[in-house]
Point group: C2
Chain length 474, copies 2
């Protein structure tokens, strides 16, 4: 149905979907801001007024205002209502991390999945089946390790799809990779660990999480066979956090020889490997590489997540620790005071059991494969001297720039054009930012929505060219 | 449909609900164990075999086995399959906390809600509406403070139902009360706090959570006007954790005079009050007492949860901190590495907006009121010399025993009869267990299922009488 409201003296026509009023109102307001019908510093009507005009609930309007305010489109001015923001907070968005990125910026940082194809109907059906099937035990306080059904479903999936050696009793369900990483670090810290090795390229957030548990970080170099694990020889660390299936963000798998060396090291020296299998499902060119964990279940903590394979809003992840670490991990879970919602765990179990998890992975794999192929075309056609590297897998790869190009310049040119993109250096620890290396940008082809993707590619090309001109390479 | 499988040489007839196969199989197996058709130390068929017999998925059977194993009905023997447990692990259940309590024990500890009436249909409808209405932003990584919609819905509910002074931007969504308590404690610890006052009766788990953040605990006495807050005068603590609406487990509200004193203390000395409003919605006799937070929003951290008002499996709670503590709290959320699932938060928002949250509270209030009334009848008729105390509110009250009765004896007699119940002393810090006090049992009338309630009441009567005889009071 079409509803009309006089917003700021303007008749705002909103195609209100009866089942999705909030979404359609959000879209209408964004569009009105983008096309200038709602100019900066315009005052919006009170939520109650707009709700009455549109025939929807006040809470829906208030939620839309709050959402658009969080995204930077609108501003709440104390005592003076809600206004269209004065300007795009681009720099702010770039510095505050993914959750605050403005929607006016296209986000092409590494590791961000495209959620526009989220299987809404299938997820709803899984919830329905899980809720109807739930026992009184299921509905009460969950087991700290996770609900029995979720652990059975996940163990089955991980054994089948990733070759993980796991029984349901050996698996711990968490809210996200980050939470489980913190719990594992606290558990090994409580056993006396003081240092953990981490690949020199990776999410700064993960380094901050580790450091917050009191552990020091030792960087391991990364080359085109993955982490240079032999650098661990003789180094005093209790564990090494790695992305063996697909190094983040460099995009290469750990070579077979290094996998063997790493496992032998862990066994010989009694150390742990923390295997971050964040996108292990997404390999396009051939069979996925199985989890490293299967080679040494007593020395590897396997860590996986539903954030890439389904969507971050599912909010669930899992750890498979060696059996002797499990009680320590559960102690830390107890002391953290929280457990992932049982209803959400049961829904994921039903989603897996109904094969929807596999379908989601297959669908996204095809989607990312075609985005990657299109990216390769554009780079080959438009950016001579540049090259994509990294396996045909996952959600990101590297765009190697012509020597002499400045990564920071490319990022700045992109930001000026509304594209959020990072140089490879930015994913090193701060004290290694200036270490030598071939310049490269991380291209996260998962982040843009389908409607943004071609624009995003053009902006990459423009920004790289602009930075090359600046460096006298044009 | 009825399905039959030869379990351990026994034709097990299972009324398999097509929509809830797991639930019906669980129930059938429990029943067969209870009535002796499946005797202790009987081996069960492999999950695959039973699944084929019953025409259901192997994962469903494996999940049921895992669930019943976690509950203590079955045992997984390494390399030898699944067996009926040798005996009820009563003592183990009593010591390991609520999540491991065996289902053969009726759980009458304080603070456990009855979830058998969980509004399955209404929750499913809320999820459906939330999922269909979700934007791409909603489906991605959530804001660390919570999704905009959940914060708007919760702020509206708390202002209306509990009188909390809150705007959506000032509210933080968490996984549970315990998680938020930990984050708040870490935030004040990071500001230099070293000690927190806590009511001398309460969950030992909460004390452990606080202690794990490095804070020392100072107990405050409790009498029949609630916490003796004047004991805080001159005591060096940074904050006081209290249950003002309904002291847990004593069951009395903080008197009006003490509320005023407490607020004045917090303002005068620049201390914080942590208001645990765990069951503030459940008052039967008259208007609920509004949140203390409204009297001093800049000195009170309000903490609430969906665990009692809906069910623990919803897995969501909320904090409304003073504005200047909010950034510190969000820093701690970041460092904890996890966020509650966005989809679950959106579902709760839709559940609140559709007035189902209020309906759930009203339904449960009526349910607990009638349980409380029945308990009063039984005590008046069957236990002369004993008396119930605590306001007509919440999920538990105290049963004052005749002087000379030993609380531990009552608990032991109850456990022998299959009832899990705690003495008041057990809810004090360990070093105060033996301090003087009138003997009393905490009666959690939320815990038993409807089918268990009358049995539970009889077992209370029997156990109290047995302990009285033992003390020479019969």
């Amino acid at each position: 149905m079409t509803a009309v409201s006089a917003v700021a003296g303007l008749d705002l026509h909103v195609e209100l979907s009866p089942t999705r009023p909030a979404r359609s109102l959000e879209a209408a307001l964004r569009e009105a801001v983008v096309d200038g019908r709602l100019p900066p510093d315009t005052r919006l009507p009170a939520a109650r007024t707009l709700a009455t005009d549109l025939g929807i609930s006040r809470n829906t309007v208030a939620a839309v205002y709050a959402q658009l305010t969080a995204e930077g489109w609108l501003e709440a001015r104390v005592g003076a209502g809600t206004w269209v923001a004065g300007q795009v907070p681009a720099a702010a968005a770039a510095s505050t991390g993914r959750t605050h990125a403005s929607h006016r910026l296209i986000d092409m940082r590494g590791g961000i999945p495209d959620v526009t194809g989220f299987p809404r109907r299938e997820w709803t059906a899984a919830v329905r089946s899980a809720v109807l099937d739930a026992s009184a035990t299921d509905l009460g306080y969950p087991d700290p390790a996770g609900t029995a059904r979720a652990r059975v479903a996940l163990a089955g999936y991980l054994a089948r799809a990733r070759g993980v050696a796991v029984q349901p009793e050996g698996l711990v369900v968490g809210q996200g990779f980050g939470e489980l990483l913190v719990l594992v670090c606290r558990a090994i810290r409580a056993r006396g660990a003081t240092r953990v090795a981490v690949e020199e390229y990776g999410h700064d957030y993960h380094r901050r999480l580790i450091a917050s548990t009191g552990l020091d970080i030792v960087p391991i170099p990364v080359d085109d066979e993955g982490a240079v694990v032999t650098a661990l020889d003789g180094v005093d660390v209790a564990a090494a956090l790695l992305t063996p299936a697909h190094q983040f963000p460099v995009g290469v798998p750990l070579s077979a020889e290094r996998r063997r060396w790493l496992v032998a090291w862990a066994q010989r020296t009694d150390r742990l490997v923390l295997e971050d299998d964040y996108d292990g499902e997404f390999r396009y060119d051939r069979r996925t590489i199985g989890a490293l964990q299967a080679l040494a279940p007593r020395r590897v903590v396997y860590l996986g997540t539903a954030s890439k394979a389904v969507a971050p809003s599912v909010g669930l992840a899992w750890a498979v620790p060696p059996a002797d670490l499990l009680p320590d991990l559960l102690d830390q879970r107890e002391l953290a005071g929280g457990r992932p919602a049982a209803l959400q765990q049961l829904a994921l179990a039903a989603f897996i059991d109904g094969h929807e998890y596999d379908r989601s992975v297959r669908r996204l794999r095809a989607h990312y494969r075609s985005r990657r192929a299109r990216l390769e075309e554009v780079v080959a056609d438009e950016l001579p001297g540049c090259a994509l590297t990294g396996e045909a897998a996952g959600l990101q790869c590297l765009l190697r720039l012509r020597p002499g190009t400045d990564e920071g310049r490319v990022a700045a040119e992109a930001l000026r054009r509304g594209l959020l993109i990072e140089g490879l250096r930015a994913l090193r620890p701060p004290d290694l930012h200036d270490a030598p290396g071939v310049p490269a940008m991380v291209i996260g082809y998962g982040g843009p929505t389908p409607g943004q993707y071609e624009t995003a590619l053009s902006l990459v090309v423009e920004s790289v060219r602009a930075a090359a001109r600046e460096a006298g390479l044009a």
